[in-house]
């Protein structure tokens, strides 16, 4: 399969801040690829470079076989971009915004309606409403429609689900899966670790670096340590007591459980339970579990520091 994105040693500095440190990345044609990481990881900077909106300080980046600096004019016809911040005209209506984007790309809503039908149909009843007066979820659908109207070969979506509730996030990912089904390459960034599982492959990013690139399944398989979920009646006390335990490697809160790794090669659950009972914990529960992406991300962060 050919590469939709290929970067070699891409760097970007803003003053003293190394926003991107020598990024090598390949995204294959047709992939739904996720850039996963917190604020400050460099996700937006990388996307803006790939979308021809920002010049790298060094390194090379190709999108669809074209160089992002030299061939930017050509590329802009072939890429769709949805910025992290809502950037459409708030005082134009839904329909006017979409018409404007279509016109800029020498097309019309009618001509390419089939491309955006699934998404746009949901907000079409409100097409006369000003974009500024839409709800968050509707703005997102309009922005995606505008990014799609010129039939791009690749979509760059910068944190489309940030600040969006869990239900609307699910709906948005369903839309992405449908788009992927049509063969379009999608590069999407998100701070929500659980969304990694919805991508074909992911790059886990932190402070301008890529910590790992792989399928979500393989990221989890590479965790390489036994992981336990531990619970007791007094959760806050449990964190403190487990952190003080002589064999503890890591302790992280995960919902109603703590995730625990040990620095011994063979771990006896009973020993841990015994230790916690001695510390006065009641209703102690411990079970072996498979890691989530977030466990892996934290392990990679800790290795990196």
């Amino acid at each position: 399969m050919s590469s939709a994105i290929l970067t070699v040693g891409v760097e970007k500095n803003f003053g003293d801040t190394n926003a991107l440190k020598a990024i090598d990345l390949e995204v294959k044609s047709g992939e739904l690829f996720g850039l996963i990481g917190p604020d400050g990881a460099g996700k937006t900077t990388l996307i803006r470079i790939l979308a021809t909106l920002l010049l790298p300080d060094s390194g090379t980046a190709e999108v669809l076989g074209k160089e992002v600096v030299q061939d930017y004019q050509l590329l802009r016809k072939k890429i769709g971009y949805m910025p992290g911040k809502f950037s459409l005209y708030k005082d134009l209506s839904v329909e006017e915004n979409l018409s404007l984007f279509a016109a800029i790309h020498n097309t019309t809503i009618e001509q390419n309606y089939h491309l955006i039908k699934d998404i746009y149909a949901q907000i079409e009843p409100f097409k006369k409403r000003k974009a500024g007066a839409l709800s968050g979820g509707m703005k997102q659908k309009l922005a995606l429609s505008c990014a799609m109207i010129h039939e791009p070969e690749i979509l760059f979506l910068d944190e489309p689900t940030t600040g969006v509730d869990a239900v609307s996030r699910n709906e948005f990912w369903d839309m992405l899966k449908k788009l992927k089904g049509r063969g379009i390459t999608i590069l999407v960034s998100t701070p929500y670790m659980d969304e990694a599982e919805l991508c074909d492959r992911v790059a886990l990013m932190q402070k301008g670096e890529i910590l790992a690139v792989d399928t979500p399944q393989q990221v989890v398989a590479n965790f390489g340590k036994e992981l336990f979920a531990v619970k007791s009646k007094n959760k806050f006390g449990l964190i403190k007591d487990l952190e003080a335990y002589e064999y503890t490697n890591t302790v992280h809160a995960f919902g109603s459980y703590l995730h625990y790794t040990d620095n011994r090669s063979s771990i006896k659950k009973d020993d841990i339970v015994k230790y916690l009972r001695e510390k006065g914990h009641e209703e102690v529960e411990i079970k072996s579990i498979l890691p989530e992406i977030e466990d892996c991300f934290m392990a990679l962060m800790e290795d990196n520091e």
Partner: protein, 241 residues
């Protein structure tokens, strides 16, 4: 029964025919970590604005930290803490200047400011960067400092509006340790979040749907009630019935 810090009865905010907040009634006890959840547009922000004295309700009753939201909004503002992802600290002031500034606003004496500043710098390990501009610090540090500044004046309650949005997973957990610590010292914590694992860190959760409180209970009992072991499923079942 411990002291009640938030009390609302049929609290409502209406814009024309639209009820953004529709007859909500609940109370929050001293030292409780109370999660305030809901889909976008469910009315969380409007409810929070009323509880923090920024918006006068249309009808109903509510007291916060013992003050009436209709008549004593100014007193509420002075007696609560507040932080959000968007509004926290001044980027072009240093760590120490930010602490001094907020402490001054909350009316702390010079002596108190001195003591609190060194306590905070110590606790958050900020000695090396205390004279650094906030703008150049990592987001996670800023948010931990912003939280500590929001409770500098020992308020009875602190409101946190998506305090951990975009923060890395390790710092996010450190942030919650600060929340636990504050709560165990008796400060009530009222928090919104889109991270469902964080919902489980709360003592109780309310879930708003279309302006109403559709469910309110401990995470354990909510999961039991909706026959699932994940808060995410509870949320989905409530928000899209």
């Amino acid at each position: 029964m411990s002291e009640t810090i938030i009390y609302t009865e049929n609290l409502t905010k209406q814009y024309g025919a639209f009820k953004a907040v529709d007859n909500i009634s609940f109370s929050v006890a001293k030292g409780e970590i109370f999660g305030f959840l809901g889909a976008n547009g469910a009315g969380k922000t409007t409810a929070m604005k009323m509880l923090t004295g920024l918006l006068t309700p249309t009808s109903g009753k509510a007291t916060v930290a013992g003050f009436n939201v209709f008549k004593q909004a100014e007193k509420i503002k002075r007696n609560i803490g507040y932080m959000s992802q968007k509004f926290s600290l001044y980027e072009d002031l240093t760590v120490v200047e930010n602490i001094r500034f907020y402490a001054g606003i909350y009316g702390l004496t010079n002596h108190q400011i001195k003591v609190k500043t060194s306590e905070l710098i110590d606790k958050l390990h900020l000695e090396a960067v205390k004279n650094t501009l906030i703008g150049s610090l990592p987001l996670g540090w800023k948010q931990k400092l912003a939280f500590s500044v929001a409770i500098l004046h020992d308020p009875k309650i602190v409101f946190l509006d998506e305090p951990t949005g975009g923060v890395d997973p390790i710092t996010r957990r450190q942030f919650w340790n600060l929340i636990y610590e504050a709560a165990s010292s008796g400060i009530t914590v009222f928090v919104t979040t889109h991270y469902m694992d964080e919902a489980e860190y709360c003592d109780r959760i309310s879930m708003m749907v279309d302006g109403k409180i559709a469910a309110l209970d401990t995470p354990e009992l909510l999961k039991k009630q909706f026959e699932t072991d994940s808060m995410h499923d509870v949320f989905v079942k409530l928000a899209r019935p």
